[in-house]
């Protein structure tokens, strides 16, 4: 059951990343690129945690992938607010 859900979550993150990439191509808005990479990292994290049968995520350092993803999202939000005053995007 866990394996099934883990696989499903991995794929869902990955497909989400693909959609974000598409939106980035359509709109040229960097925020979508950030979300795409972040979701790809979440997918990778989920896949590795499952495949490597990691018991404790913090010890395995795999959580660095997730942390990187969240930092990217936060950076995108900050970037959106800092630059929206200057440019039209």
């Amino acid at each position: 059951m866990i394996e099934f859900m883990s696989g499903a979550v991995t794929l869902a993150y990955f497909i989400g990343a693909v959609f974000f990439l598409r939106f980035w191509r359509r709109t040229a808005d960097r925020l979508f690129l950030a979300f795409a990479v972040a979701f790809a990292l979440f997918a990778l994290n989920q896949a590795l945690v499952s495949l490597l049968e990691v018991d404790s995520e913090p010890e395995s350092l795999l959580y660095a992938l997730r942390v990187l993803g969240f930092i990217l999202i936060l950076a995108a939000i900050v970037d959106k607010n800092l630059s929206s005053g200057r440019t039209a995007r």
Partner: protein
């Protein structure tokens, strides 16, 4: 062509009826020969530029135009320019003028409107709405 011609009504028309530049070209083809019934295949073959429009796409757009009261479908499955009202006709003529006089603006507008929902996702992350 003045900016005021790009009214809210025209924007709504584009958003609901003209999903892409290819669709605009097909519609303008029908406009230029109003009495003539077109099939989807004919519409794809007679493009003003070398734009490649698939027959499926052309059919999809023609059916959309029919649903919006811009063209009428003939009994043999072809389409004819037949605006449901003078207002619709006026909007299509504005489209024609925009296509001829302000093509870049028009194209940008079509794609901006198409992507409006996606942009709203990105805009949600602005703390202060402009």
């Amino acid at each position: 062509m003045e900016d005021s011609a790009f009214s809210d009504e025209f924007c709504r028309f584009i958003q609901t009826t003209v999903p892409s530049v290819g669709a605009a070209e097909v519609l303008l083809n029908l406009l230029r020969q109003p009495g003539r019934p077109w099939s989807a295949a004919e519409a794809t073959r007679e493009q003003p530029r070398d734009a490649i429009v698939s027959e499926d796409d052309a059919r999809k757009w023609l059916e959309l135009f029919a649903a919006r009261g811009v063209v009428a479908q003939t009994p043999d499955g072809r389409f004819r320019y037949a605006p449901a009202s003078a207002d619709v006709d006026a909007l299509v003529r504005i489209l024609e003028r925009a296509y001829n006089e302000r093509p870049v603006t028009l194209i940008q507008m079509i794609y901006a409107l198409r992507d409006a929902k996606i942009r709203s996702f990105a805009d949600a992350f602005k703390f202060r709405k402009s």
